[in-house]
């Protein structure tokens, strides 16, 4: 293609039209903070780690659960927590390993693959968190069925129980918890997928393009 050769000739001698930065200008840049996609994954992941745990604290309140009479649920709750934090630790470790693997010195395809892999770890973590939110609500719902005292131990419920029959109160509470849990999980998931969708659009397109000829 003649035009491409013409372009090549021009390209290689094209120097005077390019901007020229001074030593000081470049030096200053080395001190600036990166705003790369990898940096964003790190920031968002840390937020994802902190926010759900923070929400649990806010949601449950600063009350010490161990002092409350949870009846049957105390065991569930303890088991749930142990399991939850064990898995969270596992994800932190996985994420750290993947994150460390990312190197700008890799070839482009490998670099993209590793970033996508890191993102997948984060994605699995988020799915896990969303599932845990649902389980958390489910534990309450089961608790309501098994033990009336749990419902009654909630604030304002004892007074309500005097006006409304307990069965009706119970089914209302179950519905509120079920719908609330689903809505909450859907909201968190929506925010997450929107955020990552936007962040990764370009990378995904480019990765697909690089992979297209393979097979």
């Amino acid at each position: 293609m003649d035009e491409l050769e013409l372009l090549k000739k021009d390209w290689q001698q094209k120097k005077e039209h390019l901007p020229k930065l001074s030593y000081d200008e470049i030096h200053k840049m080395t001190w600036k903070k990166s705003s790369s996609i990898v940096k964003w994954i790190l920031i968002i992941s840390i937020l994802e780690l902190v926010v759900p745990n923070l929400l649990v604290v806010l949601f449950v309140g600063a009350d010490d659960w161990s002092t409350k009479d949870l009846g049957l649920m105390a065991n569930y709750y303890l088991g749930f927590n142990t399991f939850y934090y064990a898995v969270v630790l596992y994800f932190i470790y996985q994420f750290y390993r993947r994150y460390k693997e990312i190197s700008v010195l890799d070839d482009s395809k490998n670099l993209m693959r590793k970033i996508i892999k890191t993102r997948k770890t984060v994605k699995h973590y988020v799915i896990f968190c969303l599932a845990m939110i649902l389980v958390f609500f489910a534990i309450f719902i089961i608790g309501f069925y098994l033990d009336d005292s749990i419902l009654l131990s909630m604030e304002g419920m004892a007074e309500k129980a005097e006006e409304v029959p307990i069965a009706k109160l119970k089914s209302t509470a179950v519905w509120i918890f079920a719908l609330g849990g689903i809505a909450f999980a859907a909201f968190m998931g929506g925010v997450y997928f929107l955020l990552y969708g936007l962040l990764f659009r370009k990378l995904k397109v480019n990765y697909k393009e690089l992979k297209r000829l393979e097979v």
Binding site: L7, V104, D107, S108
Partner: protein, 197 residues
């Protein structure tokens, strides 16, 4: 502990005696003096080779702000990776990979930027003595066509224009040599279609 000390001293003496030579080790310096020395080396190298980065920025951005933004991100990535640069290849060769990776993978285009101050037209003026109207017209159209390609195609064209062979192109992008050739041919066809719709 003792081993560390010796190592550091070794590096210090070496870097003083060989100030202008290639980088010696991939050892990451902790001593402030060594760090300054490394920084100076890096900035000087980048200053001398900045054209490569500017060319990439020109291909991937449409205005001065975005150009500077991308240049800055590439500089940061180069600097972060510099301690791993062993001097077994030329600095410029090593730069291609980091700079291209930053442009097509790490860098996120900011949507907030105003796209009005397009500088495209000033980027490819030919010197007065080689002035040739049809040739200049052709070049202008070519530059415009190349800018319409997708990120990956641009990377291939960039390496091609920089006179890299297919082995280097395939190694930089992580595709096979055959794929690089096939892709390049497709790009030529694409460019032809853009030029003669």
């Amino acid at each position: 502990m003792r081993l560390n000390c010796t190592c550091e001293r070794f590096f210090l003496t070496q870097s003083v005696t060989n100030q202008k030579s290639n980088r010696l080790t991939s050892y990451q310096p902790t001593h402030p003096l060594v760090n300054k020395e490394l920084e100076h080396q890096f900035v000087t190298e980048l200053e001398n080779n900045q054209n490569i980065v500017h060319k990439i920025c020109t291909l991937y951005t449409n205005n001065r702000d975005a150009h500077n933004d991308l240049f800055q991100e590439i500089t940061i990535q180069l600097w972060k990776a510099y301690p791993k640069f062993r001097g077994d290849s030329k600095f410029s060769t090593w730069m291609y990979r980091v700079a291209l990776n930053t442009a097509i993978t790490l860098y996120r285009k900011s949507k907030r930027r105003i796209q009005t101050q397009d500088y495209e037209s000033v980027m490819f003026k030919i010197k007065a003595d080689e002035y040739d109207e049809t040739e200049e017209q052709q070049l202008k159209l070519m530059y415009k066509a190349v800018k319409q390609l997708n990120d990956i195609d641009k990377a291939l064209v960039f390496l091609y224009l920089e006179d890299k062979n297919y082995t280097e192109i395939s190694e930089t992008l992580g595709i096979s040599e055959v794929n690089a050739r096939v892709k390049m041919n497709r790009i030529k066809t694409k460019l032809r279609t853009i030029l003669n719709p």
